[in-house]
Amino acid sequence: MSTLVKEDLFENLLESAPANFTEARQTAKDLYLESGLPAPKEEEYKFTGITKKLEKSLSNFNQAKQLSVEETLIKETVFQGFEGDVLVFSNGKFLQEVSSSIEGLEVSDILSSSAEIGSIAKAEKDAFAALNQASFSGGISIKVPKKTKVEKPILLLSFNGVNDGQVITPRFWIEVGDFSEVTFLDQSISMGEEAYFVNKVVEIKGGLNSHINYYRLQNESNQAIEVSNIETDIQSDARFTSVNISLSGDMVRNNLSLNLLGSNSEGNMYGIYLLNGKTHVDNHTNVDHTIPHAESNEMYKGIFDAQSRGVFNGKIFVRQDAQKTNAFQQNNNVLLSDDAIVNTKPQLEIWADDVKCSHGCTVGQLDEEALFYLQARGIGKVQAKGLLLYAFAGEVMEKIEEESFKNHVVGLIQDRLGSKF
């Protein structure tokens, strides 16, 4: 299908890829050339017509060149109350000069790193992962040594915008040693209102008893198109928590995968969609229980206004050996408008017999009884709605352990709901 995108991407991206990781790039390129981008009916992209969107919205399929990012801009952009280190990216390229240097960590440009590209987010699983692996033009490798508690959160701050090209292809490699702890905040800022396409891959490798938080705020411009593949492997006794907050964008597809590779490991995936306009956000999550005695928790909540659209797909695999697994999944949605749509689908595949798994998804309207009750106590309709919606989404916010980030996100959400209390 979609020869235009396939050919264009081939010409412009694959041929101009930096000359390193040549083997990994070649493997991915072969895979990509075989599959091309997802065809309209392809099961995994059934509700998210990303290929068509790219064809319609982009005209220049070159990698966007680096934008200049001044320190003053960074200062203005970092959210209020944040205390930590900032790593800055411009159209995917790591800007070492304006980034914090973090003591004790091994941080380098991905292009000159020893990252094990494609060992976690495998190119054969997704066309965009393959395209990224073949053509990534920037990014970072962060290695946290063993037994290191990184006290302050690390903000991965990306500035994205059109510059001689509309495609941005960053790749992050994060390796957290045994018994280490770290929190990442991932946020992107749109420079300008023109359409661009971010195709991002993040690979995270968590050692024994490591604790990793990866919090992500998606509030780019309503022209931004993005596909991300974030995949994590964690070992025994480790814990990984992802919180993904989606507030805007044109079309956003998040593939989030978690492989629980050691017993007593815990994986948590939480998320909020709070959308209006025509924003389309698709969260595809995948948890793979391969060993006994591991736990996964998943909760995504969606609030959809105007003509926005949400997709949730939650796959949970419990392999035959993964006895005593606990796996929970929940996806609840509220539609505020007749034109908003949500498609939600849990997909559990369980081969082990001694497991505790539950899942549930709901799609509903705002509770009119509750709304009337609040109004009957003198609370205005807008505020009453805000209270109810915030109560609905708040459960996810409680999962954010980084106070300043939580406050920032709560503020953004309450602003959007038109209700500050």
Binding site: F372, A376, R377, G378, I379
Partner: protein, 252 residues
């Protein structure tokens, strides 16, 4: 204070209220009784502004204003309070946050300064005593997992906080044990003043021993078919509704 004239209301096209007339003056207590399904809660809901009920005829004047013209929140701010027959559970909304938002919006409407956290808490403490409500309940989500009696008590607590001029208590006594009934009624009585009025909807004479009505009305098939003094409630308690139904149905 409240004048209801020839009020007709329907839900999904089915008429429920069919010509209600009622006059409530400051300082008065009116009891509304009547068989199940006669329209008592519907009347209460229409007064509070529930949208499903369509007023097809008639008018309601409250303190000189056309009540039916106001949004539910503005009715509350004007001083109408409905204690729900079935209070709604709202998970995730803390009772305290809810009450503070409500109280401050009501105060703003009435041209009063918002209460700061300290003043709010001390007011809350004072009113909590009035209905002997447990602090623990209020640290939970609004009504979530409350027992029937706890919900009713919470309604009266909210009423105490918001200081309405017209309180409509829809079967606040149902689900209360004897002690709770006494406490809640005492609370209501303490909140009464020459400037406020109360409408109590009930099935039981028992409540009216505590909250003594000036008038008792019987609602049947969407109309007030009989009015009297508190003796009427005693008579109903003794004889049931059949004699009234017969009178009304014979007249049709």
């Amino acid at each position: 204070m409240l004048t209801i004239k020839n009020l007709h209301a329907a839900v999904e096209g089915t008429p429920i209220l069919r010509g209600i007339n009622l006059e409530v003056k400051p300082g008065e207590v009116h009891a509304i009784m009547g068989p199940n399904g006669s329209g008592k809660s519907t009347l209460a809901s229409v007064l509070a502004g529930r949208e499903e009920y369509e007023v097809t005829e008639g008018e309601v004047i409250f303190k000189g204003k056309d009540l039916l013209d106001l949004a539910p929140e503005d009715r509350a701010r004007e001083g109408v309070f409905l204690a729900f027959q079935y209070p709604v559970e709202i998970p995730g909304v803390s009772s305290t946050n809810f009450l503070r938002t409500a109280l401050n919006q009501v105060r703003e409407y009435r041209g009063q300064e918002p209460l700061d956290a300290v003043k709010f808490l001390s007011l809350m403490k004072e009113k909590m005593k009035l209905v002997e409500i447990d602090q623990k309940l209020l640290s939970r989500s609004l009504n979530e997992g409350f027992s029937g009696g706890e919900k009713k008590r919470n309604e009266i607590f909210q009423m105490a906080m918001l200081e309405p001029t017209l309180s409509i208590l829809d079967e606040t006594d149902s689900g209360l044990d004897i002690d709770a009934l006494r406490i809640v009624s005492n609370g209501v009585n303490k909140l009464k003043s020459p400037d406020t009025a109360t409408i109590v909807v009930t099935h039981y004479q028992r409540l009216l021993e505590y909250i003594v009505p000036d008038f008792v009305h019987v609602l049947y098939k969407g109309q007030i078919v009989k009015s009297g003094t508190k003796d009427l409630a005693l008579e109903l308690e003794a004889k049931g509704y059949d004699w009234i139904k017969e009178e009304v149905d014979a007249a049709v």
